[in-house]
């Protein structure tokens, strides 16, 4: 879609049909490197953070034109309803605060000044050492198409480490990264000139080879096969950071389901399911419920009510017939099972596939078909739940936990030992903090190279 009121600044502005050639990519990369040298390399961390926070603050304003545009065009091009998009964008941009950036820098690099010059922690000072971190000159991102915010995060982190960046979006998914890049361009055109956004169908080898030949570091999000295929094609000099597809689940203890708490827990779980229509790696497929509080069957019903209430204010939006057919077929399957066994129950939106809750006593982990289709399963204990999730061990991203403080630490330890990289309160599964370690890997530290100076 060619923008009428945005300058054609990025390759993605030329529309999905723009004929890209390897030459275009090579040339764009050369321009990016040049612009980085002139406009980005010498910036201060403080200045970059101020700019990113200012841009994020704009995005949080309801009348910000680029936000309005995202909410107008997003539903048709990305498949999320405007309220779903708005909530997702707000969750992302609220993380862009000076405090969060500062926390990120000290967490990742030990000292907030590492990217500006030689700096030292007090321990290092005593050892008469100082260190400086440098980001890759040209950072390329191959973004997955399922949801838009990870690409925005990647761009922000890339700017922080002073990298020129080329973001390649999957077909039909460039809208938000493009608008975000325009918001940076608006705020600081010279920084905008250090970004390039393009869109093509994954696997276009000639274009990708041109990009890989130029990049110092490549990040990619996608299936394990996609990642392996990309890594095979990278030149030896390029560093590769791959983020594979992950699944997430939630765990609800009996204590939090006593009394009036159950309804609040159900609302938080529903928010996690509705966020990005459950399509992210951080979205729950299954919600495990302990017995002893509100009976799990009854809690499932509360969840169904909460999803129904959310549908009124934050609709899931239309699906393609093929996607709807997957939900309809899965619902049919459980409808038959429920007719035969009291251990299976089901709730579903009337006259649509907007949301589905399947309760099964069997704790076996089950991958959802997503788009707001949630399994609720009995949790005899966390140990038994983890045993029945053995198939996805090492593939879990986040566990949303609803537990009283006196049990939370112990449960978190057990999850950590099993290999879960992120544990968060239920209701916040799709709102990781800026300093979140994606798949348990450092957020910034994986990007940089160090110079140590022993004085």
């Amino acid at each position: 879609m060619i923008s009428m009121n945005l300058p054609n600044f990025f390759l993605a502005d030329l529309g999905a049909d723009a004929a890209l050639t390897p030459g275009t990519i090579t040339e764009a990369c050369a321009t990016l490197r040049r612009n980085r040298e002139h406009y980005l390399q010498g910036r201060s961390t403080g200045g970059l953070i101020r700019l990113l926070c200012e841009v994020a603050e704009n995005w949080l304003q309801p009348d910000y034109p680029l936000r309005q545009r995202a909410l107008e065009e997003g539903p048709a091009t990305l498949g999320f309803s405007a309220p779903t998009l708005a909530r997702g964008l707000d969750a992302c941009f609220r993380q862009f605060t000076p405090e969060q950036f500062h926390a990120l820098l000290t967490q990742e690099l030990g000292h907030a000044g590492r990217l500006d010059g030689f700096s030292a922690t007090s321990d290092e000072d005593r050892q008469r050492r100082a260190s400086l971190a440098r980001g890759p000159e040209l950072l390329a991102h191959i973004a997955a198409g399922n949801l838009p915010v990870p690409a925005l995060m990647s761009l922000a982190l890339g700017l922080l480490v002073r990298s020129a960046q080329f973001l390649k979006c999957a077909s039909g998914t460039a809208l938000l990264p493009r608008l975000f890049a325009h918001s940076i361009y608006e705020a600081d055109a010279k920084l905008g000139a250090c970004l390039e956004i393009a869109e093509w169908a994954g696997g276009h080898e000639l274009l990708e080879e041109a990009l890989f030949a130029e990049a110092d570091c490549v990040t990619a999000t996608g299936s394990d096969e996609t990642l392996a295929a990309i890594e095979r094609r990278l030149p030896r000099r390029a560093r590769f950071l791959g983020y594979g597809h992950r699944v997430s689940f939630a765990y609800v203890t009996a204590e939090v389901l006593r009394g009036a708490g159950a309804q609040r827990v159900a609302a938080r779980a529903a928010a996690d399911v509705a966020a990005w229509n459950q399509l992210g790696c951080l979205s729950p497929h299954v919600l495990y419920v302990e017995q002893g509080g509100t009976p799990p069957e009854q809690f499932s019903e509360l969840l169904a009510q909460a999803l129904d209430a959310l549908e009124a204010v934050e609709p899931r939006g239309p699906l393609s017939p093929a996607e709807a057919a997957v939900i309809a077929s899965r619902r049919s399957f459980y409808e038959v099972r429920a007719a035969h066994s009291p251990e299976t129950l089901h709730w579903a939106s009337q006259g649509s596939t907007a949301w589905t809750v399947i309760f099964e006593a069997d704790p076996q982990f089950q991958a959802s078909c997503l788009n707001r289709f949630l399994y609720v399963k009995l949790a005899p204990s966390l140990t038994q739940v983890l045993r029945s999730a053995e198939l996805v061990r090492g593939k879990v991203s986040t566990v949303g936990l609803a537990a009283p403080p006196e049990r939370a630490r112990e449960l978190a330890m057990e999850l950590a030992r099993w290999g879960v990289p992120r544990i968060c309160p239920l209701g916040e599964m799709q709102s990781p903090p800026l300093a979140w370690r994606h798949d348990g890997r450092p957020a910034l530290a994986d990007l940089v190279t160090w110079t140590d100076w022993e004085t």
Partner: protein, 362 residues
């Protein structure tokens, strides 16, 4: 088995043999009668109807008869037959399924199956008095006793003069089907030499396997005029898969059978009747059509309502020949509504969600 189901079978076989025209009232009466019989005799189906709070007394039109999801055949014994009456079981094909669908048959139900399949096959693919021959790329039914397709081709063989139908399929050591390409070539050569029309019947993956071999050897057969091809089913990972139009072009190129002589068949082990579509003809004939004793509907996956002409949804079939199991079946096949028929688009369960998921887990 209750005598009423048998009485119904006799009447349906009469209906089939006369190929009675599609009168709405006649079809509706038979469908409601069969629904009542199956509601009584088929326990999983009755439980399903009860969960939907539907019973014969409350259903007045065949379109309201609850359609049982085909997936039920995988988990439950969806049958009106007592265990001692079950003389044969057909399994769904596919190599990755832990629990195949099971469709139980008895002598009586197989008689209905044969009557139904032969009548429509003769009308759509190969007339019964044809002097031609047929080549099946599947194993013979004796080698594949749980395949409803092999059984069907066996019934076609038995209805033709001895020797008119040959099977060039066989079982690999893994149990998978493969084509004895040398045998297939030999039969084709004989038909070309005698200038006898040949009807070649097989699965899409069987055709691809054979045609790839022909292409590799640079072989182009030129089957005599009047020859036809019937192609059925998906690929299920057993050969390279290619778009249907490419498969048909390859058939024309390698066998010399023109597009208008290629017929597609839609069938499943859970049904007793088949739908056919003729490639390279009018838009109406290019759509799949069931015989007068079965009806297809395309249902919106989103709302459950019938879709409009030209729209996409899930295929639902009411097959009156499915007397001893269940007549109304909700498939997982995506279809486009075309007049009284449908175009097939694929299997919903295989459609990939666009989010992060590990489908292997399911």
């Amino acid at each position: 088995m209750t005598p009423t189901l048998q009485t119904f079978s006799a009447r349906l076989r009469d209906f089939i043999s006369r190929a009675a025209p599609r009168t709405e009232r006649g079809f509706n009466a038979l469908a409601l009668e069969l629904f009542a019989l199956q509601f009584d005799a088929n326990v999983p189906y009755r439980r399903f109807c009860a969960a939907r709070r539907l019973a014969p007394a409350t259903v007045e039109h065949w379109t309201r008869i609850p359609a049982l999801p085909a997936a039920a055949f995988k988990e439950y014994e969806v049958t009106c037959l007592a265990p001692t009456e079950r003389t044969r079981v057909f399994h769904s094909s596919g190599t990755t399924q832990h629990h195949p669908a099971r469709h139980f048959h008895s002598g009586a139900s197989l008689e209905v199956y044969e009557a139904a399949l032969l009548k429509w096959f003769h009308a759509q693919v190969m007339p019964p008095d044809s002097s031609g021959r047929a080549l099946c790329l599947t194993p013979a039914p004796e080698q594949a006793p749980h395949s409803s397709l092999a059984y069907m081709l066996g019934a076609i063989r038995n209805a033709l003069p001895p020797g008119a139908v040959a099977f060039a399929g066989r079982l690999a050591r893994s149990g998978a089907w493969e084509v004895d390409t040398a045998e297939a070539d030999r039969i084709v050569h004989a038909a070309v030499a005698a200038q006898t029309p040949l009807v070649v019947l097989g699965t899409a993956f069987g055709f691809v396997h054979w045609l790839d071999t022909l292409a590799a050897g640079g072989v182009r057969h030129s089957l005599p005029g009047g020859s036809r091809v019937m192609e059925t089913g998906g690929y299920k990972g057993r050969s390279r898969s290619l778009p249907q139009s490419e498969l048909h072009a390859l058939i024309t190129e390698r066998l010399g059978v023109p597009a208008e002589a290629i017929v597609c068949e839609y069938g499943m082990s859970e049904l007793s009747s088949q739908a056919y579509a003729t490639v390279g003809t009018t838009a109406e004939l290019r759509a799949f059509h069931f015989p007068p004793w079965a009806r297809a509907q395309v249902i919106s996956a989103e709302t459950g309502a019938l879709v409009d002409e030209g729209e996409t949804g899930l295929l639902r079939v009411l097959d009156l020949a499915n007397i001893f199991s269940v007549a109304a079946i909700q498939t997982e096949d995506l279809a486009l509504r075309r007049g009284n028929g449908f175009e097939l688009l694929g299997r919903a369960a295989l459609a990939e969600p666009r989010g992060c998921s590990l489908l292997a887990v399911a």
